[in-house]
């Protein structure tokens, strides 16, 4: 039994089911990120945990108490909204203690809680200002402060960083992570940004079309995606997924792929059970960082396959240089070290780390598990 239990929860609007049988168990102190594109149901799920949307079927329980139908204010949760939702007519201090005031906490206790949190977030000098006089980052802090003052069981974050500019977003991301490390609170965090999901979470639920596609640690999600959707959604640039044929050579399975020149090449699988797929088509997933210049290849890998191919386009990005080339009939992206000596149109020796490659069933798009 988890700290926050989401059991068999569905949500329908009329006859349209928008959330299908979600099962997630969140342990105390966990940082769960719900990630997915817009319309995947992640915000709906968060609002259901908050009590802002009703639950069509299933149960949500917090600390072992089923909270279906319990008013949001009685669930002992706090929420940080995308727009921050600070009350414009109240000062920062009043904003932060409004919840405590509504719950009938005595003034002295409210002031103490406010002081502690303001100190923690370093916003002591802002307490008498109105939200309109604050910058985006300051508003963000105040919104988090308002949640922290309540000392709730579960924190809910609804895309809290998406209104900030790029640099501030990275700073606040680190700040939220630090805060979580320090306070060990239970957090459910909604975002559409897969980097936020990877960096912040202890576990990620990737959602798409109302289904939880995969639930796991960032590493599990990244290295062993459950299906093609998860594989391509997580990671930037996205994982290359290309059609390939499994062939056996001296009892070992290989992926057979056409290179840019139309020549069939063989890539040796690290995954032994791929021999079950001998002679069949599969989808081969290789992340851009697994296709490198030979010097940039992972030294700990047991299966680096050298591979010569013609380069299409190069895109120097500062820290890395991305190379686009044709493989298996589609354009794929490879990630070189910044100063790798590559040029458009050139034949180049790549190194593919097949230890990190994953294979998908082309019919179900599910990963072929080892």
């Amino acid at each position: 039994m988890g700290f926050l239990d989401i059991q068999n929860v569905t949500k329908s609007y009329g006859s349209v089911e928008v959330l299908h049988r979600v099962d997630i168990e969140v342990q105390e102190g966990e940082f769960l990120v719900l990630v997915g594109p817009s319309g995947c149901g992640k915000s709906t799920l968060l609002n259901m945990i908050a009590g802002l949307e009703s639950i069509t079927s299933g149960d949500i329980s917090i600390k072992g108490r089923v909270v279906n139908g319990v008013h949001p204010s009685k669930r002992n949760i706090a929420m940080v909204f995308q727009s921050y939702a600070l009350y414009p007519n109240m000062t920062v201090g009043q904003n932060m203690t409004f919840g405590l005031e509504m719950h009938g906490t005595p003034k002295a206790e409210r002031d103490r809680a406010l002081k502690d949190v303001a100190k923690l977030l370093q916003i002591e000098n802002l307490l008498d200002r109105k939200p309109g006089q604050l910058s985006g980052g300051q508003r963000q802090r105040v919104a988090m402060g308002r949640a922290l003052v309540r000392d709730p069981d579960v924190f809910l974050f609804d895309e809290p960083l998406s209104n900030l500019d790029a640099k501030l977003r990275v700073d606040m991301r680190t700040e939220i992570k630090k805060l979580h490390e320090k306070l060990k609170t239970t957090i459910v965090y909604v975002t559409h940004d897969q980097i936020e999901a990877m960096t912040l979470s202890t576990r990620i639920a990737v959602m798409y079309q109302g289904y939880v596609q995969q639930l796991g640690t960032p590493k599990e999600i990244y290295d062993t995606p459950a299906n093609v959707y998860v594989a391509t959604f997580m990671g930037s640039p996205a994982m290359n997924v290309l059609p390939a044929k499994v062939v056996m050579h001296e009892g070992v399975p290989y992926a057979q792929i056409k290179d840019a020149g139309g020549v069939e090449k063989l890539l040796k699988f690290s995954q032994a059970n791929m021999s079950d797929w001998s002679g069949k088509e599969i989808l081969l997933g290789i992340r851009p960082e697994s296709i490198t210049d030979p010097d940039g290849a992972d030294r700990n890998s047991n299966n680096i396959v050298p591979f010569r191919n013609r380069i299409g386009v190069t895109e120097p990005a500062g820290a890395d240089t991305f190379v686009t080339m044709e493989l298996g009939g589609i354009d794929i992206v490879a990630r070189m070290r910044a100063d790798a000596n590559v040029g458009a149109g050139q034949e180049f020796d790549f190194a593919i780390n097949m230890d990190k490659a994953v294979a998908f069933d082309p019919k179900t798009e599910e990963r072929i598990k080892p």
């Binding site: 204010s73 706090a78 727009s83 939702a85 009350y87 409004f98 509504m102 309540r150």
Partner: protein
């Protein structure tokens, strides 16, 4: 601090400018003329009006017409002046405006932030009341007021004006609150505020501009209403009806100076409301439409 002179575009010459100001002055005179005539003639003895020029300033200045209009002019059969009717109007307008504004604000709050099945239809029906001509409801309204025992009383008039006012006040507040971020209401819900507390603590404090618009609108309409006042006023007729009785009386000498003074007295409250709150009016009208 020196104020930089407003520069004009290259192709706006002095002649154009003079033309624009000329037109503006012309319109100003046009609009101020009636007020001038009313004020000037309300301060003259009657003989000066009947025997002289309406446009001229008084030779002998007198406040007597004002005093008469206020306290001793013949209204219908009683020589009471407009005073008791003015009080009637105040007693009718203030509660009507207050009640219809509060109800409109509550309606707007419910219709935007606590949406329920059929809320759009209810809003549509409420809007209907903005378009129903007054004459159509006279007889049914008379029946209802009679049944309630409110016929010919100030509470009866208040009821009529509140019922008619809710449509417009709801429209104003609904459109204003539609631009109000729902996340704020949700945040307040999580913080533990109930229905009325959210309204009181979160919504109302930011409703200033639209409240001014609503109050001006309701005040002007209810103060200026004649039909309901004449139909349902009974012994407690409002200012507009009294003014009519003063000006339209067919016996005796037409005391134009008193009539002018009375007319100004009748228009004074709405004028005051506009002057005091007018700039918020324009601001409020824009507030709902452009940005929340």
């Amino acid at each position: 601090m020196a104020v930089a002179e407003q520069d004009t575009a290259v192709r706006t010459g002095g002649i154009t400018r003079a033309f624009i100001y000329g037109i503006l002055l012309l319109f100003m005179f046009f609009y101020l003329m009636p007020l001038f005539v009313m004020i000037a003639n309300s301060l003259k003895p009657l003989a000066e009006i009947t025997g002289g020029n309406m446009m001229a300033l008084p030779d002998t200045w007198t406040a007597e017409p004002w005093r008469q209009a206020w306290s001793s002019a013949q209204i219908g059969v009683e020589p009471t002046g407009l005073k008791p009717y003015f009080i009637n109007s105040i007693l009718m307008v203030v509660p009507s405006v207050a009640i219809s504004t509060v109800l409109g604000a509550l309606n707007g709050y419910v219709l935007t932030k606590w949406s329920f099945r059929g809320d759009k239809i209810i809003f549509g029906l409420l809007l209907f009341s903005c378009f129903i001509p007054f004459q159509i409801v006279l007889i049914p309204m008379a029946t209802v007021l009679g049944k309630l025992g409110l016929a010919g009383s100030i509470p009866g008039l208040i009821l009529v004006h509140v019922v008619y006012g809710i449509g417009f006040s709801t429209l104003y507040y609904r459109n204003y609150y539609a631009a109000f971020p729902t996340e704020l209401v949700r945040a307040a819900m999580i913080d533990g505020a109930g229905f009325f507390r959210i309204f009181w603590r979160i919504m109302l404090p930011v409703s200033g501009p639209i409240t001014v618009v609503c109050v001006i609108w309701q005040f002007t309409n209810i103060w200026n209403d004649f039909l309901f006042g004449a139909s349902f006023g009974g012994q407690t007729q409002p200012m507009t009806v009294a003014l009519n009785n003063l000006v339209q009386s067919s016996t005796g000498v037409k005391e134009y100076n008193v009539h002018f003074a009375g007319a100004i007295l009748a228009a004074l409250p709405t004028l005051l409301v506009y002057i005091v709150a007018g700039r918020y009016f324009v601001r409020g009208l824009m507030a709902g439409s452009v940005k929340g």
